[in-house]
């Protein structure tokens, strides 16, 4: 069975890979992922906040106390090889590259055009085979319009494309007024692929202390449906490749994603829950199903159920909405 696929110009044995997560912090886990058959390694994101916030807060809480008092010109030691978040990250890219034979996709996550984007160049130099640029942005300012958000993200994508020679994917959220239009603009600035979608970690409320609290909910297969719809809509209409991220837990989930148009399928929650070996069982399941259904290759079904090829395309469009609602009433 030929499961090979091409994602961001990389020739991969199959579409399954771990998505951006802390799993790659541990080299042993990375090796276990390789053993489980992952086709590539996606690094966790290096956050703009890490690059900017940490540095600036260190400046405030450490440097502000230096050279202030006669008895102590500083209060903390000055290690020679002090590695900041990015340096550790780059080191990890190098280590993973050395440890496994797989392509490594590094990831940057931020919201503003700034110096932090220069780290993309360093990621390339550290050996990353491709980059995933996560433009996670939550507009809270009413003065910031949809166009502003898109322009900003496009600017960042462009800056990274200019900085590096390796392929660049943009990881998107589902909240754009017109995702196809935005996707086309990303296409136009030369982005090599899109990852659908970011999963937003939704804060909870502590009603006793009147505080918002962080919460982390892992995905399940129900999260997949949103991805399937938009993969299907974009598939065939954008130049770059597509990855599905979020909600893939079973072989059927992965097959659906590919049918909707994914060139790559990223898994995180399932691997966090059940370990790297899950990737292998999903891959085996895909292969078995495809054999049972007499597929010859993955490419045969890639995008087979997208908006252009689906026998009932209205399911992806608005008409479906009315239909479903009336069924519910009934």
């Amino acid at each position: 069975m030929d499961l090979s696929t091409k994602y961001l110009g990389l020739d991969l044995a199959h579409p399954l890979m771990p998505g951006a997560s802390p799993m790659v912090d541990d080299l042993d886990t990375v090796r276990r992922l390789e053993d489980a058959g992952a086709s590539a390694i996606v690094m966790h994101s290096l956050f703009e906040e890490q690059l900017v916030g940490d540095a600036m807060s260190a400046l405030r809480s450490v440097d502000a106390h230096t050279e202030s008092f006669a008895e102590a010109t500083s209060y903390l030691p000055r290690p020679d090889e002090y590695r900041l978040g990015p340096e550790e990250y780059l080191e990890q890219v190098r280590k993973i590259k050395a440890a496994v034979k797989l392509p490594v996709i590094a990831s940057l996550n931020g919201t503003t055009l700034g110096g932090w984007l220069d780290y993309s160049k360093l990621m390339e130099q550290a050996g990353a085979d491709a980059l995933e640029l996560n433009v996670y942005y939550l507009p809270t300012d009413p003065a910031v319009g949809g166009l502003d958000v898109e322009r900003n993200a496009l600017g960042m994508a462009q800056a990274v494309k200019r900085a590096v020679g390796i392929p660049v994917a943009v990881k998107l959220s589902p909240f754009y007024s017109s995702l196809p239009a935005f996707a086309h603009q990303l296409d136009a600035v030369g982005v090599d692929g899109m990852v659908l979608f970011n999963r937003f970690y939704q804060p909870d409320i502590d009603v006793e202390r009147l505080e918002t609290v962080r919460s982390l909910r892992l995905s399940d297969s129900s999260d997949l449906l949103l991805r399937l719809r938009w993969l299907a809509i974009l598939s065939g209409s954008v130049r770059g490749s597509l990855a599905c991220s979020g909600g893939v837990h079973t072989p059927m989930d992965a097959i659906k994603a590919v049918m909707a148009g994914a060139h790559a399928v990223q898994m995180v929650s399932a691997l966090l829950l059940h370990g790297p070996k899950t990737l292998k069982s999903v891959l085996d399941g895909m292969r078995t199903w495809m054999e049972e259904h007499e597929y010859e290759s993955l490419r045969q079904m890639q995008g087979s159920m997208n908006l252009q090829k689906s026998p009932n395309p209205q399911a992806y469009e608005r008409a479906n909405y009315l239909h479903i609602l009336s069924e519910w009433r009934g």
Binding site: A64, L76, G115
Partner: protein
């Protein structure tokens, strides 16, 4: 021979650079101003820097200088090339070993940044009183006068000691040389190898103790042998000066820098000569050259090798024409015929005459004088005054210079206008805030000028004694010739004021020379700024014809994301205006240093700094200076007009930075100083202050408890007091609790004393239910609130405080007691001072406090302000600092004296009972003083007693009057940090605990030596980075509490106010009430932990939840009740240690350097915490058999 670098370094780095490369073992202990030498050595070894023989020196921190010296002695005896660095009290602690080291002729060079020894007061600044205390040890004393010399003599000392076998103490002036940044030529490794031949090292090794060729040293000798054996070393001392001169000569051959045992400067036929040593000699050198150029026959002898003193070399150095000699000592030896160098010179001249080697045409007159104690300025004016004095027919002997002595009139008059600085030396003075980065940028500036141009350059930095809102003054000089001006700039060509508020407090333009440049950072633009200057500033601008520039640096910083760091912006202005370098080149160099400084902190920091530099010039404007002043208002008075006379006359002068003008007569001869003066220094350093919303306040008083500066306070009072008197914006609300039903309640901020640390606002639990973002305390800009809140605060203070007897001594109630520790100079957000303040609220009116040297003694007693205060009756803590190492014993002495006084009073009372009245005496002797009400009653009885004694003409009555106050219960406290309690003072602390007397020890545990800059102590937790433990401490924190518990009779508590303030207050109350030794170990967050201290209480909670800071109380009184003496006051919630470590730079740093190691350290810390807790849990279940109960075994109580 490889080439030598020219570089800008300070004296400490210059000396340490040689010491580290020429030694193998370095045993250290931090003490200002020498700490940096140890830090450099530690850092270099941690980086893997090798000595000239290819080994990485082993740098070890000891528990005290005594310990360091012991380790040095041992390492020397075992044959290692060994050194250490110290100053002042540290050097005194080394003296016993120094006698031994010298007596055994060990080759050893010790480096000292000379500093005042504490006498009537501690001082961190420079003089020779420490070094002079070592004259009798047998060490050679080698004095360097400048940064280059500190570097050179470190080498000469090391080389000479190997040849001479006499140990050397190489010293240079603390701060003036140790902290001055200057351009030096660096000795390379080849130079050092040339100076330290292998043969000498081999001989040193051969002298080592070794079982292969065993010998015995350190014998005990008897009258038959000791004397002769002691004299056996004489040949070495006789040969030593010659060896030093030979070493100097070899050094001169190598480097071209020529030195002699005594160096003469001046007219070859001088009739007046000054003899001195240390950095002051450079100012004298400069002045002598200036005077000789003007035809005066004057000269200077710089003493390089003070011990062994070479009579022959000294006499040969002096011109035969000398008629009068002034010997200047930078020390005071009270009661001596004269100071040490003076006596030596007199003796030398006398002996030379007796021996017939005197070459003088006529025997010179010699006078001695003191100068420069505690870094007192020693200027060309002082030098001139000394020469002028020598010109008199009968010059004054035993004079002082640099001060005005209006008591004993020893001082010389100095012409304040005398100025010899040449025009081609550029001079800049910069006023900044510690936190705005001014000093760091100026260090970079002077490095750029020194290293990138042909100029010689010098940077010297003056800091104030506050830790929050500290003012810094940078003095930069550069010019075409070596700079010998070892004194502050007085006439600058460039004066920059980086904070416009300083213009209201300091005479900034006092430093401006006519026609110079004045650069001001101000929110007002070039058109408006003039109208916002105080009249005095305008007058200076006009009369001195200053070129005035203005920039809104905070605007530029904000625009470029730099927050309040304006340093690179102001630095760019300096280069742009001064034209030292072409603008483009200057900007390129500034960016180069920015990259070097911040590269490791992230590209964004570098980019933002670059952006700030680029934006600067567009925002820099020249201001047209009108011909004369136009402002009506001048600078506000330094202190309020209602301040006490002493504060007006003395403190205010110190606050204004003009303390040098105060004469001797204003000071007490024994160092006594009034308390309660901090209230008069209104510093206005907070950008934001808390604003109280009474509507949602739950009246918990937590804000007051956490406030490090006593700048937010609650009060309950009769609402009638508000009628017609309250200021319009004064807020009040009905008190909610039953205990003060019907009373009014107010939370009031002291707007001018608040530091803006936010702790009160962060801890405030009262949120607006409809808008939880709004709390009962929100931070708001101070400026618009200042006037109104000042008035409100004054009214608040005028309201009566609740009767102490009515106050419940718990967390909430304790905050109604007035703090008798207020507005200290501690850091904004300090984690120590809330405990100190609580102590004074609970017991301050009857407390004696012994304070170990460290942060708490500095914010507690560093002039100009004294934060320990008095209540309305004039009572308050009596406080004193003895030493770092002896604080437990010092406080124990308080207890012994108090107990003695009590016994004496009781005995006399009994004797006088018939006269005083049996009833009153009985009540006085049997008073129950366990409550505030009981104490108040006893005070009343003592008042009655005094009135009865007043009428009695009995000697016993007079004796009783002197001690009657001790009949009221006293609370004796020893306060100090972990450096004291865990390390240097542990022996004494342990002994005092064992003594079973009623004393209370408060350990403010910041887990590092905070005051000297964050060096590791035995309290430093596992995994944390600290200086001298850069890779992260690999062993756990010493369990001081458990060690104290092992005595069984000691009350022990471990507290963290941020985690459980109720338990903290309970522990303090119990400790005081326990009639035996008590120790409270108090978790204190600190800037040395590297995070925003507004989160301090939250971190404390996490520490408790993770089990790394257990809360407990061990009360021996519970044993008699059949209860387990140990009570655990918090159950860990299973929070991971990593939750605690992830916020603090001290841990994160370790992770970033070596993530794998850090992971292991975290696991170890987690295991340690679990194991420690298991032990505590077990102990908390144990009851101890009461004496004679016959059970003989501990019965484990089920949880």
């Amino acid at each position: 021979m490889s080439k030598r670098d020219l570089t800008m370094v300070d004296g400490n780095e210059a000396a340490a650079s040689v010491a580290h490369r020429t030694n193998e073992v370095i045993a250290i202990y931090p003490i200002t101003p020498s700490s940096n030498m140890g830090e450099w050595a530690d850092e270099w070894s941690a980086y893997g820097r090798r000595n000239i023989w290819g080994a990485i020196p082993d740098v070890v921190e000891m528990q005290s200088e005594g310990g360091a010296s012991g380790a040095v002695h041992g390492a020397l005896q075992a044959g290692a090339l060994t050194t250490t660095f110290t100053a002042s009290q540290g050097l005194l602690l080394m003296i016993p070993d120094m006698f031994k080291i010298a007596g055994e002729l060990n080759s050893y060079c010790l480096h000292v940044a000379a500093r005042s020894v504490a006498t009537h007061a501690l001082s961190i600044f420079g003089d020779h009183s420490d070094v002079m205390s070592c004259r009798q040890t047998g060490f050679a004393l080698l004095s360097s006068n400048s940064v280059q010399e500190a570097h050179d003599f470190a080498c000469v000392g090391q080389a000479a000691t190997l040849r001479a076998r006499v140990p050397f103490l190489h010293f240079f002036d603390g701060f003036r040389t140790s902290h001055e940044v200057a351009k030096i030529e660096v000795l390379n490794d080849d130079d050092l190898r040339t100076m330290l031949p292998d043969e000498l090292i081999r001989q040193h090794r051969e002298r080592a103790l070794s079982p292969e060729r065993p010998v015995l040293r350190g014998t005990a000798q008897n009258p038959d042998a000791f004397f002769q054996a002691r004299e056996a070393c004489n040949p070495f001392y006789l040969a030593c000066p010659g060896i030093v001169q030979e070493t100097f000569d070899r050094f001169a051959e190598l480097t071209g820098r020529s030195y002699h045992l005594f160096d003469y400067v001046g007219h070859p036929e001088a009739d007046r000569v000054i003899v001195m040593m240390g950095s002051g000699a450079e100012a004298a050198h400069e002045t002598v050259e200036w005077m000789v150029a003007r035809g005066e026959k004057v000269g200077l002898v710089k003493v390089r090798l003070y011990r062994p003193f070479s009579l022959h070399h000294f006499i040969a150095t002096l011109p035969s024409t000398v008629r009068k000699i002034a010997v200047l000592d930078r020390t005071k030896e009270a009661g001596a015929v004269g100071e040490p160098l003076y006596i030596d010179v007199v003796t030398a001249l006398h002996e030379a005459r007796t021996d017939g080697i005197s070459s003088f045409d006529a025997e010179p007159v010699v006078i001695g004088g003191r100068f420069g104690l505690s870094s007192k300025e020693f200027t060309p004016g002082c030098v001139k005054a000394v020469f002028d004095e020598l010109n008199r027919a009968k010059p004054k002997n035993h004079f002082t210079v640099g001060i005005v002595d209006d008591v004993t009139h020893f001082s010389l008059d100095v012409d304040p206008e005398f100025d010899i600085e040449p025009d081609d030396v550029h001079r800049g003075v910069f006023f900044g805030l510690g936190s705005d980065g001014t000093v760091g940028a100026n260090k970079n500036t002077i490095k750029i000028i020194g290293e990138e141009t042909d100029n010689f350059a010098q940077g010297y930095f003056v800091y104030d004694s506050k830790k929050a809102g500290a003012v810094t003054i940078s003095h930069l000089r550069f010019g075409p010739r070596p700079i010998r001006s070892t004194y502050l700039i007085r006439r600058a060509k460039f004066v920059a004021c980086h904070q416009s508020v300083f213009l209201d407090r300091y005479d900034v333009l006092e430093y401006a020379a006519p026609g110079s440049v004045f650069l001001l950072n101000s929110p007002f633009g070039p058109e408006e700024v003039w109208d916002h200057l105080p009249r005095e500033v305008q007058e200076s601008c006009a009369s001195k014809n200053l070129k005035f520039f203005v920039i809104d640096a905070y605007k530029v910083a904000k625009q470029t994301g730099m927050g309040n760091r304006i340093n690179t912006i102001m630095q760019t202005c300096f280069f742009a205006i001064s034209g030292v370098l072409p603008r483009e080149e200057a900007i390129e160099k500034i960016k180069g240093t920015i990259k070097k400084t911040y590269e490791k902190k992230g590209m964004e920091v570098v980019k933002r700094n670059f952006a700030a530099v680029d934006e600067t010039l567009a925002n820099l404007f020249e201001v047209k200076v009108p011909a004369k002043a136009t402002a009506k208002l001048g600078r506000p008075p330094i202190v309020a007009t209602e301040a006490p006379e002493f504060v007006q006359r003395v403190s205010a002068v110190l606050y204004a930075g003009k303390g040098d003008h105060l004469p001797v007569s204003v000071f007490t001869p024994d160092g006594t100083w009034p308390t309660a003066t901090s209230q008069w220094e209104k510093r206005n350093i907070a950008l934001e202050i808390p604003v109280w919303d009474p509507a949602i306040c739950i009246q918990c008083n937590k804000c007051a408890l956490v406030c490090p500066h006593a700048a937010i306070r609650p009060k309950v009072y009769d609402p009638k007091l508000l009628d017609g008197k309250k200021p319009q914006t004064f807020k009040s609300t009905p008190y909610k609790g039953k205990e003060y039903a019907g009373m009014a309640y107010t939370i009031q901020v002291a707007p001018e004393d608040c530091t803006g640390c936010k702790l009160c606002s962060v801890i405030c639990p009262a949120k607006d239910k409809s808008n939880p973002k709004h709390k009962s305390l929100d931070m708001m800009p101070q400026m618009p609130l200042r006037e109104l809140e000042r008035e409100n605060y004054a009214f608040f203070l005028s309201l009566p405080d609740p009767d102490r007897a009515s106050v419940k001594l718990d967390q909430k109630g304790s905050q109604f007691l007035i703090p008798l520790f207020e507005y200290s100079g501690a850091c904004a957000g300090c984690g120590e001072t809330p405990y100190v303040k609580l102590l004074t609220q609970l017991f301050g009116d009857r407390a004696l406090i012994a304070n170990a040297t460290g942060c708490s003694s500095i914010y507690g007693g560093n002039l100009p302000t004294t934060p320990y205060a008095k209540n309305r009756d004039g009572r308050g803590p009596a406080w004193s600092n003895s030493l770092f190492e002896d604080n437990a014993e010092f406080g124990f002495g308080f207890r012994l004296a108090v107990d003695m006084h009590i016994r004496l009073a009781q005995e006399i009372l009994k004797r006088l009972a018939p006269k005083i009245g049996d009833g009153l005496v009985g009540e006085l002797l049997n008073a129950d003083q366990t409550t505030e009400a009981g104490i108040a009653s006893q005070r009343e009885r003592v008042t009655i007693l005094r009135s009865r004694l007043a009428g009695m003409n009995d000697p016993d009555a007079k004796r009783l009057e002197a001690v009657a106050d001790y009949l009221v219960k006293k609370s004796v406290w020893m306060v100090g940090g972990d450096g004291w309690a865990y390390d240097i003072g542990y022996g004494g602390l342990d002994h005092v605990l064992a003594m079973n007397r009623n004393v209370n020890l408060l350990v403010l545990d910041t887990e590092v030596y905070s005051n000297t800059g964050g060096q590791a102590s035995k309290a430093t937790p596992l995994g944390a980075a600290a200086k001298f433990a850069m890779a992260g401490k690999a062993i756990g924190k010493k369990d001081l509490g458990l060690m104290a518990m092992s005595y069984g009779h000691v009350y022990v508590a471990s507290v963290a106010f941020g985690a459980k303030d109720t338990q903290t207050v309970k522990a303090f109350v119990e400790a005081d009430s326990y009639n035996g030794p008590s120790i409270i170990i108090a978790y204190s967050h600190c800037i040395a932990h590297g995070y925003d201290l507004a989160l301090g209480p939250q971190q404390q909670s996490i520490a408790v939840d993770a089990g790394i800071w257990p809360l407990y109380r061990f009360d021996p009184r519970r044993i008699a009740q059949g209860l387990p003496p140990l009570v655990l006051d918090a159950s860990p919630k299973g929070t991971k240690v990593s939750e605690f470590t992830k916020t603090e730079t001290r841990f994160q740093m370790v992770e970033k350097v070596d993530p794998k190691r850090f992971k292991k350290l975290c696991e170890d810390a987690q295991r340690d915490a679990t194991q420690r807790l298991a032990v505590y849990k077990y102990l908390a279940g144990l009851t101890i058999p009461v004496e004679g109960d016959g059970t003989g075994a501990a019965a484990a109580e089920k949880e």
